[in-house]
Amino acid sequence: MSEKKENTSAKEAKKKKISSPTSSFKVVVREIVKDKVALTAFIVIVLVLLFTFGGSLFLNAEKVTETNIIDAYYGWGMNGHIFGTDDGGRDILNLLMMGGRNSILIGLGVTAVCEIVGLLVGLVSGYYGGNVDAVIMRIVDFIQVLPAMPIEIVLVSVIPNYNPLSLVGIISLFGWTGTSRYFRAFVLSQRGRDYVLASKTSGSSDFKIMFREVLPNITSMIIIDVVLQIASNIGIETTLSFIGYGLPSTVPSLGTLIGFANDPVNVVSRPWLWLPATVMLLAISLSVNYVGRAFQRAADARQREN
């Protein structure tokens, strides 16, 4: 008898899984495929990733950044350099591949740190509320009123053994606050919801409630925030590199390439130095943001359906 029940319920389960409403993934895919622009943005992202990460596979970092003054300032397509060369005779196309990859990697790294720290802080602060929250939020407030970019620049220039990892650390130092505030606000609103109380009266521990009850309710928010953060962190890195305080000079970045435009001569007569990187940064920023917005719309749409 019970076996039969088991059997039917298993079948039921299979059937029901199809109508499962929580599969954010499916809704997102549906939303993106429906939205032609989002689909294009998504393809652009894939192409950029293939170009930068794929291209970099065939490059030797040392060779790419080796200077060879004789080859300096080749224009478009000269001597086999499709995008020409820079002041050190380095091939811009190669720099673009590696620079793009580095910028994206920094963006990913900073996002990973900020999201994890921000999520943990936000969960704890929002869930416990009260004094815990008050103290954490004062700290967050304070960090947020600090002039981030000047301090970042100072740190970049005074830290000994400065490398890309230090840059990730420095940017993350200020980046997690916004994320934690964003999640905290949501957790705070969930904390008063009866389902949290119900879990408490069901004997679940705080830890369990935070991670098993509340967290699943913010997954779509996390996805959206991650995507938007990646775009914004790439922006911060390229900005810093642009004014010369981002990635170390041996590591190419989109920012350093665009930085060539700081020289009026380059702006007018050597557009190949900075234009490809600018276009690539535009492409990344616009398409990643667009996909983020599409996620957001998908999440909103699901909320409406519910």
């Binding site: 009123v145 600090l146 100072v154 005074v158 775009a231 900005t239 010369g244 435009a261 616009l286 667009y290």
Partner: protein, 319 residues
């Protein structure tokens, strides 16, 4: 209300203290000291040592901090390592330029953002709204310096409409000539910065209008027979402008301390440019002073925002 404001000011005091400690330690972390620039082949190391001791560089850290703080209160931010002039006078010149840039940017920002936000909110999901949304989306997504570069390339070099560097033309003469030249130099950077700083204001205003539109009290106003356009201006718009008004302080603070990139691109002699120059020249005393000023400005900007909020929002004012 005054209680709220006063309390808000009191909250700022510990923030200022922490900020000063932070800046002090940042300064300590930086290599060099006021005498680094004096070292030449003829400098007597012993004499230098004595000077350093006299300046308190070997005192315990708290004593040094107290000393630093005391000087701070006297308005003494130290001597520039490189230029050998008081940092205060170095900054003062530049601060005026940054102030004008920020002021004009703010004016342009609000003049552009409010009509855009109102249009988008009022015509939600229609073409006007979609156009504003696209504008907003682009300015939000792309890092600002890209706009500066493209702006300078297009309007400065290609079209030649605006000067591309400096704050005033060396040929400018006379009071009005100078002012005119200054404004001419400011317009392009101000417009480009405003392009970006409008984004959040437009977004807030639009969301505020869209959200307020469906509130029950708007329905009530309609049910009283209030004409549509009055319901919009008197109920929806007024309530949506509240958060915008209060963001004023932080917008200004953001512009002042965020002047770095735009001033660097336009070689505009303001505080941000000074900051970057100082870091290039390892002029750490100037750097320290600038970070402190940027920090205080942001704190003051946020204070201003909170004060405006407590004046315009009855829910805070009355409590």
């Amino acid at each position: 209300m005054w209680k709220t404001v006063l309390r808000r000011i009191l909250i700022m005091i510990p923030q200022l203290i922490i900020l000063s400690i932070l800046v002090f330690f940042l300064a300590k972390m930086m290599p060099g000291d006021p005498f680094s620039g004096l070292i030449g082949p003829n400098t007597d190391p012993k004499q230098l040592e004595a000077l350093k001791r006299q300046a308190g560089l070997y005192d315990p850290v708290p004593v040094q901090y107290a000393h630093w703080l005391k000087n701070l209160f006297k308005g003494d931010l130290g001597i520039s390592y490189i230029q050998h002039v008081p940092v205060t006078s170095l900054i003062a010149d530049r601060a005026v330029n940054t102030f004008w840039l920020a002021l004009i940017t703010t004016i342009i920002t609000y003049c552009v953002a409010i009509p855009l936000g109102v249009t988008a909110g009022r015509h939600q999901d229609e073409w006007q709204d979609q156009a504003v949304q696209i504008f907003n989306y682009i300015t939000f997504a792309v890092p600002p310096f890209v706009f500066y570069i493209l702006g300078i390339w297009l309007f400065g070099f290609t079209l030649g409409w605006f000067p591309i560097s400096g704050s005033v033309s060396p040929n400018a003469s006379g009071f009005f000539g100078t002012i005119g030249s200054q404004i001419y130099h400011i317009i392009l950077p101000a417009c480009l910065v405003a392009l970006i700083s409008t984004t959040s204001i437009v977004q807030y205003l639009r969301t505020g209008i869209v959200d307020n539109k469906v509130e029950d009290y708007v329905r009530t106003a309609h049910s009283k027979g209030v004409p549509d356009n009055v319901v919009f201006s008197k109920h929806i718009l007024r309530n949506s402008l509240l958060p915008i008004a209060s963001s004023f302080g932080s917008v200004i603070a953001g512009l002042l301390s965020g002047s770095m990139i735009v001033e660097s691109v336009f070689s505009y002699p303001g505080m941000g440019k000074l900051f970057l120059d100082s870091i290039g020249q390892r002029d750490y005393s100037t750097l320290t002073a600038l970070i402190l000023i940027f920090g205080v400005l942001t704190l003051l900007g946020n204070l201003l925002s909170d004060i405006i909020m407590s004046i315009v929002d009855p829910r805070i004012r009355i409590k």
